[in-house]
């Protein structure tokens, strides 16, 4: 069985974050994420990180699920951290041969790392608490350009189909004795298989387009949704946005 990249695996749980109106949720969280990633002050970012973790716990999404995804982010961000620590100019605090770690480097590295973690953690209570198709519809309702919405929609629908297809190609290759090694032959074969996948996708796209055409596609599909925004949603959205704004006010007055 393949593991699908299902960010919305826990969308059917129940929590204040799950009950939050999708449109209000998207706006409030995006606002919060953008405010945290532009904070210049490490202490304030730490407050932001704690708030992100608080919202995550509120959403009841299992921590193991989140950590599983975070590890890839960590791999990327931590390498950046190491690089900054060694290369940023400033006061030297340690030295290995010709490489030196600077205090400014550590500070900037921590700042960027923690900002990134806060942002990624916030993605889970935002996107992980509703079904992906609900999010697409919410984006549509929020007047995100229709072409982007359609791209998201088709990506979401067909990523699973293509994954299955590539899986089938892989199985067919393995069952005829193909082993994945780092030889030129193996790489070339994988390349050809990827090429086949592109060809198949292209052909499928044509068939899908015909099916769409057959049902009156005019380039601007609409969907029917029932979103209902209540007072609770307003309060929640305003308090999240308020928190984001206050982070900046504090950092402004900080000496």
């Amino acid at each position: 069985m393949i593991e699908y990249p299902e960010i919305d695996r826990y969308a059917s749980l129940d929590s204040p974050m799950h009950r939050f109106d999708p449109r209000a949720k998207i706006i409030a969280f995006l606002f919060l994420i953008f405010s945290i990633v532009i904070i210049p002050e490490l202490k304030i970012v730490i407050i932001g990180l704690f708030f992100a973790i608080f919202l995550l716990i509120l959403s009841r999404i299992p921590l193991s699920f989140v950590l599983g995804h975070l590890k890839w982010v960590a791999l990327f961000v931590l390498s950046l951290y190491v690089m900054l620590a060694f290369t940023f100019p400033g006061k030297e605090i340690a030295k290995f041969y010709f490489l030196s770690i600077t205090a400014e480097g550590l500070y900037t590295g921590s700042l960027i790392t923690l900002r990134a973690f806060s942002a990624v953690i916030l993605i889970f209570p935002m996107i992980g608490t509703m079904r992906f198709d609900t999010m697409i519809k919410a984006l549509d309702k929020l007047k995100v350009p229709n072409i982007l919405v359609q791209m998201l929609m088709f990506t979401y629908r067909y990523i699973f189909v293509f994954m299955d297809e590539f899986q089938r190609i892989g199985t067919a290759m393995r069952s005829r004795g193909f082993k994945l090694r780092t030889t030129l032959y193996a790489l070339r074969t994988i390349g050809k298989a990827m090429g086949m996948l592109f060809v198949r996708s292209y052909e499928r796209a044509e068939r899908v387009y015909r099916a769409m055409h057959s049902r009156g596609y005019t380039g601007n599909p609409k969907t029917l949704v029932e979103f209902e925004i209540r007072r609770r949603d307003y309060i929640l959205a305003v308090s999240i946005i308020g928190f984001a704004v206050s982070l900046h006010i504090i950092s402004f007055f900080l000496p």
């Binding site: 699908y4 697409i136 929609m153 629908r157 068939r207 899908v208 769409m212 049902r215 009156g216 029917l224």
Partner: protein, 324 residues
């Protein structure tokens, strides 16, 4: 005389690379009729179906839907009447949820929200998919996806339903279910049905008339007529239903029948009649020609294999000299 639902005159079509796909195709399907289109792989069946709602346009020739010429009236006019269910449900279901997919067509027809919801509900009910509204297509089984694709077309309430290989790759139960649904749609709502299929055992119970298409229309007639035409079957890699074959064998054993049954239902009817006439018995026997007749019959239906064998032998004699 019933009026013509679909009229095709002198249709021809070539693929972009110049290969001829359809040549001078003529066809008339009457309102409320059920018609099958059979033919070998690559005969242009799918290409032909795509002409019926104007997705593809032939070089010359005409397709008319209820007297309206495709290409002269607005696209929506035709799409409203002709619904095509494609073979691969993953092509057909392109929206994130089943509900969205079923609503897609009606919304494009410009219907009001309540009516769209009404139609979606009705289509789900017809196909027995009421609890599937919010499911995502990638969580469904192939059979369920196939039914959902039919529902997605039914929500547009077409008067003509065109199905490309509706029974392919289905398990027996889903297949029977789908055949039942198609028949019911035709009988209860008077929807005209056009099916492209290889499933010969489904043809007798599913359709009234058969077209054999292989770039051009090779033959046309009732299932009986087509399945009795050995020459056409041989030329176009076609098969006959197993029941039909069985009764031909029975005939070699002295069973008396003029018109061979094509489906189990017909067979039961036929047997009952014969047994009643013969005073409660069925009389079979072996006479001097029986074995010879059975052998001939078998070779008649092994034409696919014998064609292959002939080709192989030809290749061998052309190459090295054959050893005894």
């Amino acid at each position: 005389m019933k009026r013509e639902a679909i009229t095709v005159r002198n249709l021809c079509y070539a693929y972009p690379d110049g290969t001829i796909a359809l040549e001078d195709v003529n066809m008339a399907v009457y309102e409320g009729e059920r018609v099958a289109i059979v033919g070998p792989n690559g005969a242009g069946k799918t290409t032909f179906l795509l002409h019926l709602n104007g997705i593809l346009r032939g070089c010359d020739g005409q397709v008319e839907v209820f007297g309206k010429s495709v290409g002269e009236v607005k696209k929506e006019e035709i799409i409203k009447d002709v619904g095509i269910v494609f073979q691969d449900p993953d092509d057909q279901l392109f929206m994130p949820t089943i509900f969205d997919d079923l609503a897609f067509g009606p919304i494009n027809l410009g219907l009001k929200e309540e009516e769209v919801r009404e139609r979606v509900k009705k289509a789900l009910l017809t196909l027995g998919l009421s609890s599937y509204e919010n499911r995502c297509p990638h969580h469904l089984s192939y059979g369920e996806k196939k039914k959902a694709s039919l529902a997605a077309v039914m929500s547009m309430e077409p008067r003509i339903l065109v199905l490309d290989e509706p029974t392919a790759n289905l398990d027996p139960r889903s297949r029977a279910e789908l055949i039942g649904i198609i028949k019911e749609l035709n009988e209860r709502e008077g929807i005209t049905i056009i099916i492209a299929t290889h499933d010969v055992n489904a043809i007798p119970e599913l359709v009234d008339r058969v077209y054999v298409l292989n770039k051009r229309v090779i033959a046309e007639g009732t299932s009986h007529k087509i399945f009795s035409d050995v020459e056409v079957l041989r030329e176009n890699n076609l098969e006959v239903p197993e029941v039909f074959k069985l009764f031909e064998v029975l005939r070699c054993f002295g069973y008396n029948c003029e018109e061979l049954p094509l489906s189990i239902d017909e067979a039961v009817e036929h047997l009952t009649r014969t047994v009643e006439i013969n005073g409660g018995h069925l009389h079979l026997h072996i006479h001097e020609h029986t074995h010879e007749a059975v052998r001939k019959l078998k070779s008649k239906y092994e034409h696919h294999l014998s064609n292959l064998r002939m080709k192989e032998e030809g290749a061998q004699t052309n190459g090295t000299k054959r050893s005894g």
